[in-house]
């Protein structure tokens, strides 16, 4: 009897997820439409959207990882630090140690894996607050980045720059400039990686036992235990996935900027948390969707692009609009959820 109840409650939560997802997608499209109407110019060209994707592929990947941790009711604020550490290590390896592309990819994955194992162990086995664990992780990553190399520098390895400048041309989406020159539309490799990860994670969350156990653990730990779910293992895996994704994101970021610097990806963890929340993931756990996260990142970055293209380029303008947007999203979410509960 009790088991039956739990099942329906988990089902309820999942449909909450879908509701929030719909809100996010609708708002994103309204916003983009608004940008096209009010700003015109650049936003009518598909490349504008692709540019937003190109510059934020790494943010999409980190946000996906964070969403999974947040769905299980945890948090990970070390991802930005890991991204910076990965890009610095890969940069130093490629330029000072004459490394290969494959080696640098392995370094990125290795750092992510190591982070996931340590943080997952501390959170799941030793039961330490994930916030504290990842706070320490963040400081450690930032510190290590500076130890690896202090000064920022651009990677000049020819193989790497060739890979960095690889463009995937999208036929039929190009546009003509004012002078009548045709410029083809393109995305970078990172975008493809990000989209594959989004699809994979969507499948995992939707169709696998592991995916369902993430929701169950985040929704109610006690009931999840009663359902026979291994809570520790689930939590551990969520942190492992998040950190490995941060490692991949680090490489994608590195591939986009082509340099190592201690100030890379500053505040990226906060943007990732904001994107997940805008995408309908709840900090309390149990609710969230990867597609929503994707749209969360896109909404956040479109707002930044709108603010920037309106010429309001001072740093605080972007900050204020993002704050306002978060407020609006949270308000809409809570109002809608309250409405639904009443029914």
């Amino acid at each position: 009897m009790k088991k039956q109840n739990e099942k329906t409650s988990i089902f309820n939560r999942l449909s909450d997820t879908n509701l929030l997802l719909t809100i996010t997608i609708v708002i994103f499209f309204l916003m983009y439409l608004g940008a096209i109407i009010f700003q015109g110019g650049g936003f009518t060209k598909p490349q504008m959207l692709f540019n937003i994707l190109n510059s934020n592929a790494a943010l999409i990947i980190t946000s996906c990882g964070l969403s999974i941790v947040m769905i299980t009711g945890g948090i990970d604020i070390s991802v930005g630090g890991v991204v910076a550490l990965v890009s610095m290590c890969c940069a130093v390896y490629l330029d000072y140690h004459d490394g290969s592309i494959l080696g640098s990819i392995l370094i990125a994955l290795g750092i992510g894996l190591l982070y996931g194992l340590v943080q997952g162990f501390l959170v799941a086995v030793l039961d330490i607050q994930p916030f504290i664990v990842s706070l320490a992780g963040m400081f450690f990553a930032r510190g290590m980045t500076t130890i690896v190399n202090t000064a920022p520098f651009n990677v000049e390895d020819p193989e790497f720059t060739a890979l960095k400048d690889t463009r995937i041309i999208i036929p039929g989406m190009g546009s003509y400039t004012r002078k009548g020159i045709y410029v083809p539309a393109y995305v970078e490799i990172g975008v493809i990686v990000a989209l594959i990860i989004v699809i994979l994670l969507f499948m995992v969350l939707r169709f696998t036992k592991l995916g369902r156990s993430f929701y169950a653990v985040g929704g109610n730990k006690q009931s999840a235990l009663m359902l026979g779910i291994n809570v520790r293992r689930t939590k551990f895996l969520s942190h492992l996935i998040c950190s490995v994704l941060a490692g991949i994101a680090g490489y994608v970021y590195f591939l986009h900027v082509g340099s190592g610097s201690a100030s890379h990806a500053m505040g990226m963890e906060m943007n990732a948390i904001a994107s997940s929340i805008i995408g309908g993931t709840m900090l309390t756990g149990g609710v969230g969707n990867i597609i929503g996260t994707l749209f969360g990142v896109m909404s956040l970055c479109t707002i930044q692009a709108i603010v920037s293209s309106a010429g309001l380029d001072d740093a605080w303008w972007t900050g204020i609009t993002i704050a306002a947007m978060l407020c609006i999203f949270l308000l809409i979410q809570s109002v809608v959820m309250a409405q639904k509960k009443k029914k």
């Binding site: 650049g42 540019n51 510059s55 520098f153 020159i181 340099s259 308000l331 109002v335």
Partner: protein
């Protein structure tokens, strides 16, 4: 009832969001800042990617650019602040390309890593004009021209001034104990100014004790100077690579109970610096706390605009364009200096 109220609330918030967007777009139009080419075909749009707002010099540079283009109705300037990050500047240039600007003005934060994005600008047929720092690209035709200062000449001028002044008060070169508080390592200004001093120190036999970066900021200048004063007790000349560092260094000197001034023989520590934009620094120069300032002219706006006018009329401008720069001092002992056979007058600052 309650349901209707909350529905209205959402609608209100959405409305607020769009009114917010709408009003900024409206404001833009009155400022002629809009990048929409369909509506204003005769207006020439210029995208300006500034590297940041880290110093007074940079802010004066930005204002000069904005003022020069605002004065002419045929132009609209789109300004983007890169906040010291190359990624932001590359994103800004890509946005300019999508918005369909006619010209791009770039003040790059670093010298390397510009090949691909400048290639994109060229493919879109948009000429790029560089300001201040230069870029290190394999194909020099990726940019049309460059406007900026001759930083090594600034360093040479300052070294010449130090030489004339110390000779005029009868000091032997070996008694000059100099520390150099450098700018951000790798920036064109730092490279040129450091080279100017280092060469002069070698030629004249000066004791150049330490070169250490102060990152062009006041805080770092203060920190570095305090550490240097602890390490060395015979510093008599501090060569700061910008005014902000000099103000920080003077703070540190005064905090250590010493005096910043030109009377080296009486135990003063002489501070010299670059830029001459900051009002406070010029005030320090009048009081003699900073003995000499080699100007780094931030007023690039008119020059850039003239270059774009040249490009609009279909002509090819000179590839490298230097701005004229002065030397300021409140000490009347040195009236003229000579660098590479050219004589420069010293602009006397008076109280």
């Amino acid at each position: 009832m309650k349901k209707n109220a909350s529905f209205a609330m959402i609608m209100l918030l959405l409305l607020a969001l769009f009114v917010g967007c709408g009003s900024t777009a409206l404001k833009n139009k009155t400022n002629n800042d809009d990048g929409n080419p369909q509506e204003e075909d005769s207006i020439i749009t210029v995208g300006f990617s500034q590297l940041g707002a880290e110093s007074d010099w940079r802010n004066a540079n930005t204002r000069s650019m904005q003022a020069s283009f605002a004065a002419d109705d045929n132009y609209a300037l789109l300004y983007k602040n890169g906040q010291q990050k190359q990624t932001n500047q590359i994103t800004a240039i890509r946005m300019f390309i999508q918005q369909g600007v006619d010209y791009i003005v770039l003040a790059p934060v670093t010298e390397s890593g510009w090949d691909s994005v400048l290639g994109e600008a060229r493919d879109a047929g948009i000429p790029v004009i560089l300001v201040d720092r230069r870029v290190d690209v394999t194909d020099k035709n990726l940019y049309s021209c460059w406007v900026g200062s001759d930083f090594e000449l600034e360093g040479k001028k300052m070294a010449a001034w130090i030489k004339s002044y110390t000779e005029s008060i009868g000091m032997v070169p070996e008694d000059l104990h100099i520390v150099n508080i450098q700018g951000t390592i790798g920036s064109t200004a730092q490279i040129g100014r450091t080279r100017g001093l280092a060469n002069a120190a070698r030629e004249n036999g000066w004791d150049l004790m330490e070169e250490i970066t102060g990152d062009f900021t006041e805080t770092k200048g203060r920190e570095v100077m305090a550490a240097l004063l602890k390490r060395f007790d015979n510093i008599n000349i501090v060569y700061c690579e910008n005014d902000n560092e000099a103000m920080g260094a003077i703070d540190a000197i005064e905090a250590a109970g010493l005096k910043a001034g030109p009377n080296i023989k009486n135990g003063d520590i002489m501070v010299v610096s670059f830029d001459g934009v900051n009002i406070e620094a010029l005030e320090y120069a009048k009081q003699g706390k900073i003995s000499c300032i080699a100007e780094c002219n931030p007023m690039h706006g008119p020059r850039v605009k003239a270059l774009i006018d040249t490009l609009v009329s279909g002509q090819t401008p000179d590839k490298f364009n230097y701005v004229d720069e002065k030397v300021f001092s409140s000490i009347s002992r040195v009236k003229k200096i000579q660098v590479d056979g050219v004589t420069y007058d010293i602009d006397l600052l008076e109280d």
